[in-house]
């Protein structure tokens, strides 16, 4: 599977179509994000599987934004799974990346990972390696929906109270690119309190994820307290889908209804 990716990247680099390929590499016993610029480097490429499938995934599209900003004229390749591809599509609509300067090399996720992530589309639009898996079943949201209102309240408050305000969730999120973050604004969320004002902090972030979250799950993986953020954002995404028929990144070029000033009902 990895050979098809390596071959494709080799061709892209040799023909000069891309100046570099942002992927993952095995080094020092770890899996690290890496910009491949020469064919020889490809031997140590990794797809993000360390001990289990997909346990060493990184938000490569986020790092691509940093590189692309410094070199706006250059074209780069990037390794994408289903979620990364959705991230790219969403970033294009938010003008954070130029689609003409990005070549996505797609990797479809195996069924066990799709189930673990409860991913609705565990494959990118163009697949270079891997087979399409069935969408994972959504159990986590349903489990919370099944609880009574007061149980839901204590469930979430017990989780939110563990927060250490490390901002890991927004630091790792590919869709968090705001220069001035509301979560860091003293008027909205008081500085200097641990845990931060709950549920204000997490609800604010959840509302900002409306129309943006592509369900990559890196936030939950980056949370040192293990707060089930992904469940909350999945719920918020499903509300968007029901009410506005919109899911971030699933349809190429579809802009979030919250990103438009012209349409009244939020439909195209």
């Amino acid at each position: 599977m990895i050979d098809s990716i390596k071959d494709k990247v080799k061709v892209l680099l040799e023909t000069g179509e891309i100046e570099g390929f942002l992927g993952l590499v095995r080094k020092n016993g770890h899996v690290a994000p890496h910009l491949f610029q020469k064919g020889e480097e490809l031997d140590d490429m990794s797809l993000g599987d360390h001990k289990g499938s997909g346990d060493a995934r990184y938000p490569l599209n986020k790092y691509l934004m940093n590189i692309a900003k410094a070199y706006p004229e250059a074209t780069f390749g990037v390794l994408v799974r289903g979620c990364d591809d959705r991230g790219l599509q969403a970033l294009y609509t938010w003008n954070q990346l130029n689609p003409k300067k990005v070549v996505a090399v797609g990797l479809a996720c195996p069924q066990e990972l799709a189930d673990a992530c409860e991913c609705l589309q565990p494959y990118p639009a163009d697949i270079t390696a891997g087979e399409r898996a069935e969408p994972g079943e959504s159990k986590s949201v349903a489990a919370v929906d099944a609880l009574v209102l007061s149980e839901r309240f204590s469930y979430w408050m017990d989780e939110f109270v563990k927060c250490i305000k490390c901002y890991g969730c927004s630091n790792v999120c590919p869709m968090c690119f705001c220069n001035e973050c509301s979560l860091k604004c003293d008027d909205l969320v008081k500085n200097g309190e641990l845990p931060p004002e709950i549920p204000v902090f997490h609800h604010t972030r959840a509302m900002h994820m409306v129309g943006r979250c592509v369900d990559c799950g890196l936030c939950e993986e980056a949370c040192p307290s293990g707060i089930p953020l992904r469940t909350l954002y999945k719920k918020v995404g499903s509300i968007m889908e029901e009410a506005f028929d919109f899911k971030a990144g699933y349809i190429r070029g579809q802009r979030s209804p919250l990103n438009k000033l012209d349409s009244v009902e939020g439909k195209e």
């Binding site: 100046e19 570099g20 080094k27 020092n28 016993g29 770890h30 899996v31 690290a32 994000p33 890496h34 910009l35 610029q37 360390h50 001990k51 346990d55 060493a56 995934r57 990184y58 790092y63 940093n66 590189i67 410094a70 070199y71 250059a74 250490i164 305000k165 490390c166 901002y167 890991g168 630091n171 790792v172 993986e221 980056a222 949370c223 040192p224």
Partner: protein, 135 residues
């Protein structure tokens, strides 16, 4: 165009979380927690997430500063070292070793911290040594 991710360990607390410093053209621009490290498993505290900031910070001193007439002014290394050595000697003789305290930093290397605590304990003969991560 030089983009690289450099594996390193956080300088702050004793936990020793691993992360990659995101370095673009020689400048550290970000921090990526290491997902495959058994210590932190891809998670970091707020100090760890921002550890790359002090490397290129404008607030870092470039020259020694000496307080003259109530104001901090730039001085040469020779002047600064002579002043420090003679004043520490005076205070030690007049008020005793324990009247001197040493504050080091979690942002410097273990080797530099070793030198400072050795200086405090062996040269000045005091145990009053502490550093910023304990505050």
């Amino acid at each position: 165009m030089d983009y690289r991710t450099v594996l390193t360990t956080c300088t702050y607390c004793g936990c020793g979380c691993n992360f990659f410093l995101e370095v673009l053209d020689g400048k550290a621009i970000g921090t990526i927690p290491c997902k495959t490290s058994p210590v932190n498993e891809g998670k970091l505290c707020i100090k760890g997430w921002n550890v790359h900031e002090f490397i290129h910070s404008e607030k870092r001193l470039k020259k020694p500063l000496l307080r003259k007439n109530g104001k901090l002014e730039e001085a040469s290394w020779e002047e600064a070292l002579n002043f420090t050595a003679s004043r520490l000697k005076e205070i030690k003789e007049k008020n005793g070793s324990d009247s001197i305290g040493f504050l080091t930093s979690a942002k410097v290397t273990n080797e530099e911290n070793y030198v400072l605590q050795k200086f405090a304990r062996a040269a000045v003969n005091t145990n009053n040594v502490d550093h910023c991560a304990r505050l």
